[in-house]
């Protein structure tokens, strides 16, 4: 079973803001958590570590995402090189063009990236390919007749067990405990081969990629009125109990 795992190189910390714009270049980066979970599910299916390809779309530094993938067991890596990280619909289009010329059975990716929290990439990729897609996957195993059996998470702890016949796209939910990747494995991965494809600017400028007007990025303005209670734990706790009583919450203290 040939598996492609799509990884996005995202900021690991809250980036700085200048005039309502994100300055993420200087921030520490990582592979997004949901994408890392997708990689782990691929490793569950690929015990022999010879049929998983990792791919990323982005500028030169996003190649580090591929090294992380190789260090975890991916056998091949593809970098679609662009000047900047493209919007999800454009990235999906680029990956779809790559997939269309290869023979993958499954494409796994995170249900949403942790920077834009967009949640569009995997579903847009499936749409481009004309493949079925199942979202919020937390488990996958091989079934009969080359199918896979997946557990898709629903709200409130519910779920669905589904049989999926490849080719298909699976978007993966976070939650899995992620293994530590030794530095030595990462250093070794950096000596691995990465296939490069150039992404032509504006390759996906059509009606399916409408330009939204972004007014700016800012700090959350919800809340902000938190009263911090200082002193020793005993002093802070006593003050808290007094405040709760003042707010008529004494019934909670019965």
């Amino acid at each position: 079973m040939n598996i492609l795992v799509c990884l996005k190189w995202v900021t690991a910390v809250r980036p700085a803001l200048t005039d309502g714009k994100v300055q993420s270049d200087e921030a520490a980066h990582e592979v997004g958590e949901a994408d890392r979970c997708a990689l782990e599910l691929a490793m569950d299916l690929d015990a022999s570590r010879n049929s998983t390809t990792v791919i990323t779309v982005g500028p030169a530094d996003s190649r580090a995402a591929l090294f992380a993938g190789i260090a975890r067991g991916a056998s091949h890596a593809v970098h679609i090189v662009s000047e900047a990280t493209p919007p999800p619909m454009e990235a999906a289009h680029a990956v779809a063009e790559f997939v269309a010329n290869r023979s993958f059975d499954l494409v796994l990716t995170g249900v949403q990236d942790s920077d834009e929290l967009a949640g569009v990439f995997g579903i847009a990729l499936a749409h481009e390919l004309g493949w079925p897609v199942v979202s919020t996957i937390v488990r996958v195993e091989k079934g009969e007749d080359e199918a896979v059996i997946v557990l898709s998470e629903r709200s409130g702890g519910r779920g669905e067990r589904l049989r999926v016949h490849p080719p298909a796209v699976l978007t993966v939910q976070t939650g899995r405990e992620l293994p530590y990747v030794p530095i030595m494995a990462l250093l070794k991965a950096k000596r691995g081969t990465v296939e490069e494809i150039e992404l032509e600017p504006g390759v996906y400028q059509d009606a399916r990629s409408p330009q939204l007007k972004t007014y700016g990025v800012h700090e959350p303005d919800e809340g902000g009125g938190c009263m911090l209670l200082g002193g020793t734990p005993d002093e802070a706790a006593a003050r808290l109990v007094d405040l709760l009583a003042e707010r008529g919450l004494t019934e909670a203290l019965r």
């Binding site: 900021t11 929290l117 569009v120 919020t136 702890g157 990025v217 938190c226 911090l228 706790a237």
Partner: protein, 323 residues
Amino acid sequence: MSGILLISGEEESSILSASLVSAAQRIASEQDWVVTAICRSDEDANRLRHWVDRVVVVDPDPPGYEAHIEPQLVKGVWDRIDPDVVVLPHDHRGIDLGPRLAVSLGIPFLGNCVGWYRQATDLVFTRAVFKGRLRADVGVEPIKAVVALHTGRTTEPIARETPAPVEEVLVECSPEPAIQLLEEIAVEEDGIDITKSDVVVAGGRGIGDRENFRAIEDLAVALGGVAACSRPLVDIGWQPSSRQVGISGKTVDPRLYVACGISGATEHVAGMKDSEVIVVINNDPTASMFKHGTYGIVGDLNDVIPAIIKAVTDSRQSRRTEI
């Protein structure tokens, strides 16, 4: 027809559905739009027709894998009424249905919306980004969009003078033969309904050790409430999913919510932000949970929780003595 095509929340989330309808009413009012609700049952239609301008009950022909069928149903209605935006809740279903619908309609999906405002002629939605640590304001006018909203405290929608008309539509759907439902997994219940308690004490990853959840339970008992948790504790198997607060868990709005060792990810905050009083206990003063708190204590849970339990016990003892 200019307006909103509204998809209400999951069937058990009637509170969220009412909040969402209320939000749609307010957006429509500012934009001079109408609200058309789409639903799947006569029961929902009878509830919604008192709040919106038009109700469409849809049925798939033939039925099939729900996640594949539902976007086709909504698109069928979209094609008939040509609205401006689709509004749906940012819940588990919304984060799947929203993008599916957006890509099939060829319009943007704006998920994680925590608010909106009007800027000149633009309708601007505020999205949570960067793990909820920042907000991005994105204008959609005149572009059409699918918008997933985090619903707020229950706001009863404004009732219409006369119930809206209800239309039944059969939408021809193409099934997805590559996906078969084998089993529906039920909620892992432990007999405690965290949505019914006036006091909820929740622990997160910051509790550090499984055994430390005992302190969360002790504090919950001391405060007369129930113990709950954020998603990471369910993921690592320390707590059942029935105790999870958040988008993928349950939504609570108790009088008192105590968040212990919880960082404040959007996933969790969406499930408890409408609590009347929020107490945040965390040893990381930069934890974004403090932004949502009413009162905060920066400190080690192992020190602070026993101190609160003692203060509660002392307070109770003191009041008994006074009586």
